[in-house]
């Protein structure tokens, strides 16, 4: 049947339509088969330095975790007086607060419409609650073994790093969860400290470094990228320094980690882009370009 159909229809041209019966068998394969196949239409090209710049967010977060742990270590060893830490923390946060408004001349504040009174209130809430609960925190985990606490806080800090909002729109990103995990870890660690004042100071410090500091970073990154890079460097080096004072090996490993994240990973990403093979064709599900929310707003 195939044979006779072919012979009888030398001149008849196959066309890609279903509504008319063509003189070809149903499993006929034309020259034009798969001609609409496209590859890598939406593949993006990355600039190396741009990627490095973006990676600095990760660096920042790693560093803040590192700094936090280092500070905790100092306090646990008793090398660092809580009052001193409290003072510096307060001063730096005030500085940051002023800076936060100076950078963009207060547009952000206008946009959010948040009054200074509200800020003061929440600050008071923080301090009051932390202070009130610090004795409870002190006795909270005494019966739990130290290793459990360490394991838990390591787990929580890792979680914080994983779920942190680095600006990528992935499903697992949840800034709330990451912040909560950080606070949980800080409370766990603080409860191991010798006295309740320590616990109080530790928790406040945790808030400063995990909640307030990233806000400031974001704003810096948005407005003055150069200074942001500078700050990042500074922060990274301070973190390294702190770690070095505890253990050299740890410091080296941490440095390696930072370097690999900031330099190697972007390089590898760009290399991998070459092997990308993404098939497209008429069968793809068309995605809707324009935003339809305007019809409902």
């Amino acid at each position: 049947m195939c044979a006779q159909s072919i012979t009888s229809t030398k001149e008849a041209k196959w066309q890609k339509v279903l509504y008319e019966r063509q003189p070809f068998p149903d499993n006929y394969v034309d020259r034009r088969f798969l001609e609409e196949l496209r590859k890598n239409i939406y593949a993006r090209k990355y600039q190396y330095w741009a990627v490095v710049f973006e990676s600095s967010v990760v660096i920042q977060q790693l560093c803040s975790v590192c700094v936090f742990v280092v500070i905790w270590w100092y306090m646990d060893e008793g090398l660092l007086a809580p009052h001193w830490l409290f003072g510096t923390g307060l001063a730096s946060s005030l500085m940051g607060y002023v800076l936060f408004d100076l950078i963009d001349g207060g547009e952000g504040r206008k946009k959010s419409g948040r009054t200074r009174w509200a800020d003061l209130k929440s600050a008071l809430v923080f301090v009051a609650f932390t202070y009130g609960f610090s004795p409870v925190l002190k006795t909270l985990t005494e019966s739990v073994s130290t290793d459990t606490i360490y394991a838990m806080s390591v787990f929580m800090l890792l979680g914080h790093l994983i779920f942190f909002d680095y600006g990528a729109n992935a499903a697992i990103v949840s800034s709330t969860l990451s912040l909560n995990m950080a606070i949980f870890a800080s409370v766990c660690l603080a409860s191991r400290l010798p006295r309740s004042v320590h616990a109080f100071v530790m928790v406040t410090f945790a808030i400063q470094i995990f909640a307030l500091w990233p806000m400031l970073q974001k704003k810096l990154k948005a407005c003055t990228p150069r200074s942001y890079v500078g700050v990042t460097m500074l922060f990274a080096f301070s973190a390294l320094g702190g770690l070095l004072s505890i253990s050299a090996v740890g410091a080296i490993l941490f440095a390696l980690l930072l370097v690999s994240i900031s330099c190697l990973c972007p390089f590898y990403l760009i290399r991998l882009q070459l092997f990308k093979e993404n098939i497209h064709g008429p069968w793809d599900e068309a995605e809707i370009k324009e935003d339809l929310s305007r019809f409902l707003s």
Binding site: S122, V125, V136, S143, L179, I183, A211
Partner: protein, 581 residues
Amino acid sequence: MVLKAFFPTCCASADSGLLVGRWVPEQSSAVVLAVVHFPFIPIQVKELLAQVQQASRVGMAVLGTWCHRQQEPEESLGHFLEGLGTIFSHEPWLQLCRERGSKFWSCKAIHRQVSAAPDVPSEDQVMLIFYDQRKVLLSQLHPPTVVSDHQDGDTMASTGGLAVVFDTVARSEVLFCSDQYDEGPVRLSHWQSEGVEASVLVELAKRASGPVCLLLACLLSLISAASGCRLWKLWPLPFIRSKLSTCEQLRHRLDHLTLVFSTQKAQSPAQLMRKANMLVSVLLDVALGLMLLSWLHSSNRIGQLADALVPVADHVAEELQHLLQWLMGAPAGLKMNRALDQVLGRFFLYHIHLWISYIHLMSPFIERILWHVGLSACLGLTVALSILSDIIALLTFHIYCFYVYGARLYCLKIYGLSSLWRLFRGKKWNVLRQRVDSCSYNLDQLFIGTLLFTILVFLLPTTALYYLVFTLLRLLVVTVQGLIHLLVDLVNTLPLYSLGLRLCRPYRLAAGVKFRVLEHEVGRPLRLLMQINPLPYSRVVHTYRLPSCGCHPKHSWGSLCRKLFFGELIYPWRQGGDKQD
């Protein structure tokens, strides 16, 4: 259709004569009720049939002839029986005949007015079905077929075929009750009930029952009036009464008795059966109670009990104290928060102390109390048992308190944790849509939430342990009470009368019938033996079980576990709340 002749076994050996019975055209079945013997005067037979008919409202008729070939020489009889057909005209005319030699019968059904050949009588096939008149008369089909209306028995055909047979036999009881000693004008042979004087006692009982019922009913109404008076409606009493299983049980029994001794007659046999069951269960109950009473009051067992009781209570309290001590340490190497542990422990210890003092306060009166309680056994075993369960509930009141405290605490913790866990994940419970939505909290909410979450998480094991231990204790008590309640319910609901009936007179409760094919030879009519298929015991219990006084928990296991996990309170008795949902 095949003609079915239902023939009573008791007439199989009767002398020749006329077959009297009912003809059901719908199923073309002839129900033979009796045999009329020679000699008789046709008019008298007709009169008898007429009066039986108007008494029983069943269409009686002469169905045919019956000849028993052992006495008479056949040739004379044959024509005679032929002749009878002309006197009592019936369609079709049955001719049953039992030979001397063989045990096989011959049976002919003759149609006279067949349009084709008027003179040649045509026959069709007949099936003989033997039935035991007495059993069929007394038995009662299950499920009871609704008797359409008592006005005319011929509408019975609307119900199933066999129901008609049963109904016919049951209604023509008057035929059998006719006294066997006075010689009526017509000699019948059928199953003969032992007339009136056979059962004098029964008759006396029947006569007596009316006034007795009246009297008791009056008494009961007095009692119920007393219980219904306004004094009991004062605030705490109804609550207490709803909680005490004794009151429940008493009210239940009261209802039973009022129903049993209600003066109006029971309409349906089912209702009669129900009354009988209640009476029997009450009687048994009281009998058991009296046995218990005699056992108790012999050789001063009450005193021993009373002496035993106080030390037992003390001992229990001791054990609890040790348990608490153990919990306040590091029980089973569990990591508990010491501060909270101490607080809870002290709290509960104080309770136990209170309890012990209370017990000692009331120890001198216990014996008297017990004695009176023992008296209550004469009201019935069930009452005594429910009083026992109430006493247990009272004696373990402290356990109940512990349980409630623990449960409340635990419940609060669980709910707080669940909502804070949602906050921890950045979600919140949307009440309107009944689902979990994501929600953006602001910083201080997050902070405080997490702080509380951490604290609660670390305090959870302590409360959970206390809750667990006291729940186990509570469950122990509840199980004991539950067992007692089960026993009470068993006595309350078991239909003893029906079971006894099923045991001694299986045919009285019939699930249906079953047929056995009697041996037969070709050319002779088929002979079946209809037996009564008794109701299985399970269905007897299921049909006739009395309503229980639902005072025991109706939890399914799943819901029970859920409640335990979420720390909701569980009760042995049915809650007012449970009744609504």
